[in-house]
Amino acid sequence: MAIVKFDNVTKTYTTGEHEQKALDNVSFTLDEGKFVVILGPSGAGKSTLLNLLGGLDSPSAGTITVNGKDISKLTDNELADYRAETVGFVFQFYNLIPTLTVYENVELVSEISKNSLDAKKMIEEVGLSDHLHNFPSELSGGEQQRVSIARALAKNPQILLCDEPTGALDSETGVMILKLLLGMAKSYGKTIVIVTHNQSIAKMADIIIRVKNGKIRSVEEQDKPMSADEVEW
């Protein structure tokens, strides 16, 4: 069943007199529970696509439907609720709150999400039970990204959106994070969308959407996606 539908979506940025189309008439649908990779070079428009889907930005034209609801017409507060309940984000640079501990960073989402999961359990699942009371600055990059995954999943969202989640990590840690991300997404039955320029990650996806110059070049379904261990990094 299609959970996400992009219908002729265009996003134009205006800087001074200069107009730039980051997305140009993009249409596609995504099914629930799939692992989707959006692949493309820098400046292709893949992050814009993710931001629109995440409710961080609004399209200049076209409609984005999530769960049958058009999110391109939502007010600020409705968008905030959408972000709180429907989507979870994992960023390249983790974006943890530096003044809160690991536990507090994850527990934070219980303030806004009605269906949040137990923070301690999520931290345990990402293997950081020993670091509950550490601050982000006391953790390695991989550990911080694990906290970020725990936080995203603790909201119990339908869709997990990840923007270059391994971009700031060495390859070994990157693989470990991907394994964790996919494993948890699967066990919690989440749709996962990863934006990356890394071809290797794409090999693990159910669906690969290739983007270039703001347009979708191809949407490819893989019958037999590889596991992280099978992929050559």
Partner: protein
């Protein structure tokens, strides 16, 4: 090229740059304005005093001074100029309650005046030289007629000129009037020749009346009058010698005693109301200038330290880029240091302009002091010590920039190019407690943010405390002054009219007048107590129309067993101890027991009952009678020199309070602006530094309202702490100010509930307003932009 960068960078940090310039402008403006105010008083008044030959000393003798006496005084080594002088308060004929101080300077070398319109001074003239302010208030012009009532006779003449005199720069009828009221009281000079003719006329009239009563035929009276001697009467009328001299008071006293062979009451200009009040105002300004404006400047400069440091930290990448491009450290330093120099110069220049505006608002003819002082020149002058402060501020601000950038330049270009890394977080003891776990996320977040950015938090707190101190100080000063006047109005003065008597009024006549008016009376005279001139206040107040009050403002029923010292003389003697004093013009010394302390509002005085004065055998003259009769019911007697309505007296006090109000208004407005600027500047800084965290919260699904509440609650927390510290600090500063002002008035700290409410509410209002201004910015935060860069 780098200059272009300076302006562009300034533009990109416009909120910070503008707020830093506003703060320096405000700080410098208030500092300069308040300090210029007192210095301008000193400067302008001393010029006026010098132009009008203001007397350094005044010699008083109830028996008057002869020409011989004057010659002897003039012959004292060290006396530069001297004149016989008289100043007496007289009613204007056919006017409703208007009176003038009529002055004569016999040889016109001391206590002279400046003519602003009409004829020059002429020692033979038959006219009056009238105060130009009184003339303006009463629509009197040069050439108009004026008639004064003088002890049963009249003095008439045309207005020869309009003048200003140093002797009456603060034109009040007596010590009990705080502010001039030119509608009802002014001053005038006549020539010694005219005065002579007035005395002759009075002598002839008195002689003729006496002779007529004895039944002497009119022809004989007229014949005898041709040879009537009135010199003695004239000598008796000149009860004052005014002189200019640099001598010490004691030396002069001794010299006068030696020359004249009797003790004469000598008062220095420090004891003369005009000089004393003018210098008192200057001292008051000096005291104010040394606390509140300094606090202002300090807050401004310290906020600048924090802001500059943050800007330098934010410019780290740019500094690194310039370094990597091959710019030498010296050049980069010079470039960034010029930011501080730029802010310093612009802020100080604008501050100087503001200083002149603030000073002008207080010390100018149309300003607040314009109703108090009557002088020709109002030139605002910057005190010399302010120049190094101005230069020092510019240098200091430049140094702040220099040091902030110097810190960023340490290490290699690559080091500098690495982004600013915040300090590592560590848990405090409080965070390890169970209470901490129970706190709301927002509270934890705010507490950690405050402890992580200590200098920013401290500066914000400092700004709030400063704002609070300024408000409590300003409003409290007003409360105290208002309380002081209420005390004077309600507890001390229950009379409706004060009848002033002529010098040396006949005591029997005066007492019978008091009886007739069912009034209380008072005799004020100068005494020497431990070498200091204070007042002896002999009081007869069975009707409680004019009260003596104790420390707790309760009425004292005067005992006949001893004297009361005013609180300012408390250190002179304990209760039960004896004091010795001698009245001026008398060689006698009296020793009496101190039996209590009283609150004397204006004068430093020793108070006793008339019964005790009689028992001790003190020779006194009644100076005022207080009655609750109407002014029209008071008979015209030659012992009466003037009548004053209590309401009128209080009105003059009220205009004094309105001056105070304006100063307080300036302070409170400045405090609010300062509060807004400091808090907004630091709030924006805090917002920019936390923009990534705020964007994260937004991405997670926090609504704008929730994030706004977080930002505002931090401000509110700091405000609560700031108010807790600021309130007692404000009271402390006020107490210190009052102690410093105690020489002039006996003020008791009073703070009304409104002052507490207004100060606290305004401070919270400012904090909330700024919190909301910052929180509004959060709505526009670009989540995508804010989350792009690495930490």
């Amino acid at each position: 090229m780098l200059i272009r960068k300076l302006f562009r960078t300034a533009w990109s940090y416009k909120a910070q740059f503008i707020s830093m310039i506003i703060m320096i402008t405000l700080g410098m403006g208030i500092f300069l304005g308040f300090n210029m105010e007192w210095y301008t008083i000193e400067y302008d008044t001393s010029k006026f005093f010098s132009d009008t030959n203001y007397a350094d000393y005044r010699l008083y003798s109830t028996d008057g001074f002869t020409s011989d006496d004057l010659d002897k005084i003039q012959s004292i080594d060290g006396v530069k100029a001297s004149t016989r002088y008289i100043s007496v308060n007289l009613d204007i004929k056919d006017s409703e309650n208007k009176s003038l101080a009529l002055d004569v300077s016999e040889n016109y070398t001391v206590s002279t005046f400046i003519v602003t319109d009409g004829e020059k001074y002429d020692e033979n003239s038959d006219g009056f030289w009238l105060s130009d302010k009184f003339a303006a208030a009463n629509h009197i012009s040069v050439g108009d007629n004026l008639t004064l009532e003088f002890q049963g006779t009249e003095i008439s003449g045309k207005i020869a000129g309009l003048i200003k005199s140093g002797e009456h720069m603060i034109c009040v009828a007596d010590n009990n009037q705080l502010m001039p009221d030119y509608n009802t009281f002014g001053y005038a000079y006549i020539s010694p020749e005219k005065f002579k003719s007035v005395i002759r006329e009075k002598a002839e009239k008195t002689y003729a009346e006496t002779m007529k009563k004895l039944g002497v035929p009119e022809i004989i009276i007229e014949e005898k009058m041709k040879n009537l001697q009135y010199d003695e009467m004239l000598d008796k009328a000149y009860v004052q010698i005014n002189l200019i001299s640099d001598m010490e008071k004691e030396t002069l006293e001794d010299a006068v005693k030696e020359k004249l062979g009797r003790t004469i009451m000598v008062t220095s200009k420090n004891e003369h109301l005009v000089y004393k009040e003018a210098m008192g105002e200057a001292d008051e300004g000096k005291t104010m200038g040394s606390v509140l404006p300094v606090l202002f400047l300090a807050i401004a400069v310290l906020t600048m330290v924090t802001t500059m440091h943050r800007i330098a930290a934010k410019e780290k990448l740019q500094i690194g880029t310039l370094k990597a491009l091959g710019f030498k450290n010296r050049r980069i330093l010079r470039h960034y240091t010029s930011y501080g120099l730029f802010i310093g110069i612009v802020g100080t220049a604008l501050g100087t302009v503001l200083g002149f505006i603030v000073c002008g608002a207080i010390m100018s003819e149309d300003g607040m002091m314009g109703t108090y002082f009557d002088m020709p020149d109002w030139t605002s002058v910057i005190p010399v010590f302010c120049y190094p402060v101005m230069a020092g501020t510019i240098v200091f601000l430049t140094l702040i920039s220099f040091l902030s950038v110097h810190q960023q330049l340490k290490g290699t270009a690559a080091d500098t190019l690495r982004p600013y890394t915040p300090k590592k977080m560590k848990k405090t003891l409080f965070e390890r407690t169970k209470i901490w776990d129970k706190l709301h996320f927002g509270t934890k977040w705010n507490i950690r943010d405050l402890s992580r950015h200590k200098s920013r938090s401290a500066m914000t707190l400092f700004g709030i405390v400063g704002c609070m101190v300024l408000m409590v100080g300003g409003l409290g000063m007003r409360d105290t002054m208002a309380g002081f006047l209420e005390l004077l109005d309600k507890d001390i003065s229950n009379y409706s009219v004060k009848v002033n008597l002529v010098d040396n009024a006949d005591t029997i006549k005066a007492k019978s007048l008091a009886d007739e008016l069912k009034g209380d009376w008072e005799s004020l005279s100068g005494i020497s107590l431990d070498g200091e001139t204070v007042s002896l206040d002999i009081i007869h107040n069975p009707n409680a129309l004019m009260n003596v009050i104790d420390e707790n403002n309760a009425r004292i029923a005067l005992s006949d067993e001893g004297v009361y010292l005013c609180l300012r003389l408390k250190e002179k003697a304990q209760i039960g101890e004896n004091i010795s004093f001698s009245p001026y013009g008398s060689s006698k010394t009296y020793t009496v027991k101190v039996i209590g302390y009283n609150r004397s509002m204006m004068t430093e005085s020793v108070t006793m009952s008339d019964t005790l004065a009689d028992k001790l055998g003190i020779d006194y003259h009644i100076t005022s009678v207080y009655t609750d009769k109407n002014i029209g019911d008071i008979p015209s007697l030659n012992i009466i020199s003037g009548k004053q309505n209590q309401k009128q007296l209080m009105d003059t006090f009220n205009s004094f309070v309105s001056i105070m109000d304006s100063m307080v208004f300036i302070l409170v407005i400045a405090a609010v602006i300062l509060g807004i600027v400091v808090l907004y500047n630091l709030g924006i800084m805090s917002y920019v530094e936390r923009s990534r965290e705020l964007a994260t919260l937004k991405v997670l699904g926090f609504r704008n309202k929730n994030i706004g509440r977080l930002l505002i609650s931090q401000n509110i927390w700091l405000t609560v702490i700031g108010v807790i510290i600021g309130l007692p600090s404000g009271v402390g500063v006020l107490e210190w100010l009052l102690a410093a002002l105690a020489g002039e008035y006996e003020l008791k700290l009073m703070l009304g509930p409104m002052t507490y409410c207004v100060s606290v509410l305004l401070t919270f209002g400012v904090s909330l307003l700024v919190g909301m201004m910052v929180a509004r910015k959060n709505r526009k935060i670009d989540m995508v932009e804010a989350l792009k860069m690495s930490e």
